[in-house]
Symmetry: D2
Subunit: 499 residues, 4 copies
């Protein structure tokens, strides 16, 4: 699924500053089959995967004869209630969390998408995006297709419906052969469920199994943990799993290509307690922190994380550097969507409503602060100022990943080149902007130190510009265009001109 | 637009009993162009046309470069507020009210439908339905089309998008040539508005003109009155009006067929203050009442209407019969959607919460009660019992139309044959069921007495079974199927099977 | 219960114009005891009495051991649902509808008021207001009492709690002896219900009886009709009904004074199907119309009512004048709270969104239009203009009551002297302002023609300035002060300074 | 402010299990004066103090002439928006967060309480409760007072209103002399603000100062940090601060008694980044962890906290024990109010939706898990089972406080004696119930090791039953009675009896 680039973070804006100055994951998917309460298990899975998308959620179940659907804007806990979950009857269900951006929270963009076509009803949900979606869409429109949303998924469904193959599984393969990019897809018909992961394996997708029978496919293992499914393995890149008549078949219809799993899942996206691409995320992050300490040590008194994402790397750094680890920044657990700032404005307001710097811990100390990335730099600058205002003698910033210099086109919401501070300034320039005493990033090689060997199989284009799939020149343009679409809400949409 | 047959009226159910035991109009449309506040005028028009549909409402405006849309469930006053109307900028706009049924209030079925296709953006709204929609849809699906709603309008839009003609107006004509049935349609693109009425002229559609320039097309003249547009004329059956570049062109691309305007608009659907098919509705209804008095006089003391729809006919009857007209039944003006009935149930509860029979007026009187139709008979029976319980010595029911014996397939929500009491019982049988002292319907000839001559040009199939367009055998089946569509939405429920 | 004077009706404001230019009834009360579903019957009664107050509603029931309460802002149908009604267990319940004004819809002013005091719990609801409330409140505050609302009821409850008498009924009598003004009061404790009507009998209150046992006390008989209670009689002026242990006792502890029932209940407030002060309201209104025709006949073609309140009087006028009665103005049944008017404003907008003048009926006709009152005159002027714009040759306004020249201080929401047009202009002056061809009011004597004899027992101070209870000079001042209290909502209140 | 005892935690209930099995702080207060945007600063302070109460929030401001109030149910971010904050004009404001329990979220219990009395308007908010409230209330009721809520604050306001002293400050002192117990109180009139802390100093209250002038009084320093106020000092036990005419006066009208500040603020209630009773909470908690390691060491592989409250103590324990600190339990950051559990129930569901045990970290390890308290034990048992299910070889539970054996009557919501597991079982009994390999609590002496000396000045009655104020025998009874109050509200339910 495709979503626009992140909103420009205004230095004076307080809303969501901390969250916005990150890359953003785009959506979670889950599919459950062979379980009498499939929708309830899908609901809990979406709840565990909420960090991957907060804009909207949806579940479609099949009772064997018809699809039953419910979608809504907001968090999983707001979209569903007991009545609704109970009405989503049937032994199979697919669900979706959609990533939240400010301007385009539209119900009609919420997934799963449900259509009727020649073979019956079909529900689809999607994590990722197709780099050739515009091209395919243009071709389809020329042949008389109509589009009711801006999501790539609709393009794919047209390809499935337009295929001349007799069965759903063949049509899905047919359709997937025509698109390029990142995707984890789940399809549900009255009597079949299909899971597909793109040949590069950009986004994570795992397979689990219930002790009482039945299967689950989900973006991360934390969903399996909550519903007590046993982790079986990753869905392999290029693999298609076909669940039908109580059986699971694995298909690999596409030519094998190099694996390019997203390294940023380790750096920031995934939940630390998930197993992603075969490894525990928390442990990888700790190792990134250790490696960072080895590469860029610093004479200091304490190591503090930017909570919560920087915590594992900070533990690793402190351990390796043999420095005390402290919670120098305390999170407010009740952060809402908006804060009303007085006109006589408060310094570092956007950060301060979320984090408080502890004077009693920081005062007079030389502080190493560990974060996982710097995107635009605005939030990091506020953090450094806030730590210093709490009395820190020195502030040393250590980032547990290389500089982010290039946008992502594979299902992640990133700023444009111009907005990425590391694309415009060198490390010293960034340090000056942050007003830090020192700044160091993890090296490109260090990033893969956790492997204990060579590093094949990852996409690190955001650090290197080495895109594993050739990216259309118009791609960045497209992200911008979608982003600028003037939409109204809720239940409203402004359809942008088709330039 | 197509909506399923009315919900079975349970004798013990109190909700909406009075409304449900009617035929129901299905939707209103309005289009405004050449006016700087087009959306505001469309909004007021929908408000004036609210009686034609209460389920949902939507408006799409064009600012010349893009379409801006807002739709929602509920009444016009709930769906729109000042901010929304202001954001619907532009000098042209189309709008739609959707008829309200209990179980299927789905946002995705709300109109206007907005799509993108090869020529750009297109918004469409529709009052009526296509008798060959299933057939066309099947053909489209076989060619790879996908459908996201159950409304006929989506079928039509596929035909427009699939046409090979170069301009929108040609494609619309192309598409309309492939469908049969009743329709009043409005299309809006970035720079054109198109209004079309089917060759039989089933549903009403009128053209108006603003003193300050610009045009309005709407289902009834009461919309024109509110926005101070001057009534010009009906949009003629088979006529297509093309508004573009400040000009209006009239096209008549189709072979002329006999006119078959819906007689039930006079009997019940239209607002009494509207001019429909060239006549004032209130005056037609009074004449129906007069003719009824001529045909079926009765020795009585007072004439009372079933408010409010029976009021004009009751005035006509009283005038002709030289009997006193009284408001023997008083309406509660604050009728909500639900009433909580005690377990020790109240007699005639469903009717009583809406109407109160005045003992001081009715006691000891021989009463003629005038209504416009009897559909299932359940509500009429409660009314007769209630009037009698208030002391009436005799209750004589007079209906200002012939017996309704057959469903409508042209954009009206009617029960099936089995549910229509007049299809199952003769007049004496109905009288017994109603427990009335006498019962008379208007004769088929009397129905047209207001014309003062022969009666060409009307569809009265609900009274005669003479359908002017051959109706597919599956048509009634289809209404049932749509009704069973399994779908949930915020605030919506899966529709239970009807057995 | 006390509510401020009506909001000044801005000529350019469209919101609620038609309603605002009336006097307004303030609240309905109902009490049910000895019935297993007491709260459900109270709920239905409030629903039938909704016309007396739309701001908020509340019910308190007693299960014999504790009071259970639910109150909310809005219409009865919005405030209650099945779950809530079910939880209001017990065999007795009292309920209240509060009249709706724009600026002060505060939950804390919603009734019944529930307190704990020395004898246990007590719920109270009140229709009317005390003319000496300020004085008593001042005295109570000086003795250390605190107040949490602006309603008179709280004053009364303090008096009950402060009484030294041992039983609730004695304390209620004690408290009532200290207040003057208009009231219909209902008290509910764990095991008693008390109904009281002030000695002048300003506001209506009736007693009914259930066939299955138990009693109901309500503002109007239309409530009894809906719940199938038999009308027994009025609660007499000065009477206190004490329901306890399955018995009803009637007490008359106060010196008898002259009866002064509100004549405006007949003119406008009460539902036409109610029996008020022993007479059917609809029939009284018809007789007012007949008398008006006798007093001020006019050469004309048709008689039309301002719907719905003017309908009975118009029927009476037409009958007496032997002129045709027509519905020349048609009501929109879907009037919401707000309408968004275009900037290029529509003539008579505020009236037009509610009523449409039928050109086909009015064109070329000499029209008599019947209304029940003219308050500020702004709405009437719009009506006359609108009727004329629809082609009427002449417009003759006939009012079925004398000119309203003075505010009410007995539980009715009225404008101040300055705002009442009849206080500022003579009949000819008003006629000119309305742009009518003629104008006539009912005479003061004619107002009582329906009695067929002398007219003792009514308060007509709004027509005559003969206030039956001496009104404090500060009383009008007080209405204004309360009205200007700056309140925020919901759940918000700005407490005005206590000048 | 007084709230009933915590809801019984059903072993099978999933809702809020983790939170419910704690003691609960009851409310936060804040007062700001001498600042042009007082309400905005109060709003931000409440936001920083949200952890002390989530049921409802309210702010009352004074513009010098009148009080302006807004209260609502829910979180601060939900109760207030920009418009509301803007309308709360004036240079002084007081605010309140109310603690959230399941069954009694009543708007009328939300604070500040606003009344009118002989001296004008008065707003009050309160953290704490009066042990002799029932007695005083009974006396007041006997003298004719009425009560509209169940909060102790209303009792106090009656005492203020009933005082015969001429000024507000004298009346406040008069009233406070009549109550015993724990309180931090803020009073606001049109032109004065008063802050009062009870002589024992049970609950925390601090004084801060704005660089631009003006003062703030708040429950914890984290509020001062967010609004950039400088910490001045604690409000001393028994001290009354009187803010009037731009001046602050300190009064100490009461006999000095021993200080008894709540030790549980350090153990669990306060935010770790707050300075409470003169010490940084985070550092005290770390020291509690260190002392625990010294007292009850264990051979183990890793130390893990129960996040987030156990984190500082776990860091201290790991440091002292020289064991690796790991985040073995990962928190879901999107915990909502409800979760829908499948019928085929999930093991440890209530805990699992909030915390996930990391198999990759815990597998095969001997684990020390650090928590701050065990209340009923049900949640702790689930935690132990969950850690073991994730593969832990041994699970050693260490609690950074002594066993909680007795309820609190000084403003904290605690279970009754019967529900406290440590009141019923010895440590070995609890260990068995938890299924832990070992269990140790901090010793009573160890609890005060952070002082580095004797420990005067704390109330630790929950650990020792040494109540510093004699507690009425009816006190626990009273908590029960309040809990049974029958009342419903929008969104609230009648509270069921507790048997």
């Amino acid at each position: 699924m495709k979503t626009p680039a992140a909103k420009v973070d205004d230095l004076t804006s307080s809303e969501g500053a901390l969250r916005l100055d990150r890359f953003h994951e785009e959506c979670a998917v889950v599919g459950v089959c062979g379980q009498p309460e499939a929708a309830n298990l899908a609901y809990l899975s979406l709840y565990a995967l909420q960090h991957r998308g907060q804009e909207g959620a949806g579940i479609v179940s099949s009772n064997g004869q018809a699809l039953i659907s419910h979608r809504g804007l907001g968090l999983v806990a707001d979209v569903f209630n007991e009545n609704i979950v109970r009405r989503l009857a049937g032994t199979s269900a697919i669900g979706h969390n959609r990533y939240s951006t400010a301007g385009e929270t539209l119900l009609r963009n919420t997934q799963p998408l449900v259509v009727e076509f020649a073979l019956g009803s079909l529900a689809v949900c999607h994590n990722g995006n197709f780099v050739n979606a515009d091209e395919v869409r243009k071709r389809l429109e020329e042949n008389g297709s109509i589009f009711q949303s801006n999501v790539d998924t609709e393009v794919l469904v047209h390809l499935v419906a337009g295929s001349r193959r007799p069965t759903l599984i063949e049509r899905v393969i047919d359709a997937l052969a025509q698109v390029q990019g990142a995707h984890c897809l789940l399809f549900l018909s009255e009597d079949e469920m299909i899971a597909a992961r793109d040949p590069h394996g950009f986004r994570p997708l795992v397979l689990g199994k219930f002790a009482s029978g039945g299967w689950i496919v989900a973006s991360e293992t934390c969903a399996l943990d909550l519903v007590e499914a046993e982790y079986v393995r990753e869905v392999e890149p290029g693999e298609i799993l076909h669940f039908s008549g109580g059986e699971m078949r694995s298909l690999r219809p596409f030519t094998q290509v190099s694996r390019n799993s997203c390294i940023f899942e380790y750096v920031y996206f995934a939940r630390p307690d998930s197993r992603v691409f075969g490894r525990n995320v928390y442990e990888v992050r700790k190792e990134l922190g250790r490696q960072l300490a080895r590469e860029s040590p610093v004479e200091a008194d304490i190591v503090i994380p930017v909570p919560d994402s920087g915590l594992p790397a900070a533990l690793g750094f402190a351990e390796e550097a043999r420095l005390p680890f402290e919670m120098g920044l305390i999170r407010n657990h009740y952060v809402g969507r908006t804060f009303i700032e007085p006109q006589e404005s408060i310094r570092n307001f956007g950060v301060k409503v979320k984090l408080n710097a502890q004077r009693d811990i920081l005062n007079g100390k030389r502080v190493v602060v560990i974060d996982d990335s710097i995107v635009r730099g605005t939030t990091s600058r506020k953090l450094v100022r806030m730590i210093r205002a709490a009395g820190a003698a020195e502030v040393h910033v250590r980032i547990s990943a290389p500089p982010t210099i290039s946008p992502c086109y594979f299902g992640v919401d990133t700023p444009t080149h111009e907005e990425l501070i590391a694309n415009n300034l060198d490390v010293e320039g960034i340090r000056k902007y942050l007003l830090a005493d020192s700044l160091a990033y993890l090296s490109q090689d260090g990033l893969y130190s956790f492997l204990g060997g060579p590093a094949p199989g990852f996409c690190d284009a955001c650090f290197t510009r080495n895109y594993p799939v050739s990216v259309n020149h118009d791609q960045e343009q497209r992200q911008m265009r979608l982003f600028h679409a003037l939409e109204m809400q809720p239940g409203a949409a402004r359809i942008p001109p088709r330039s």
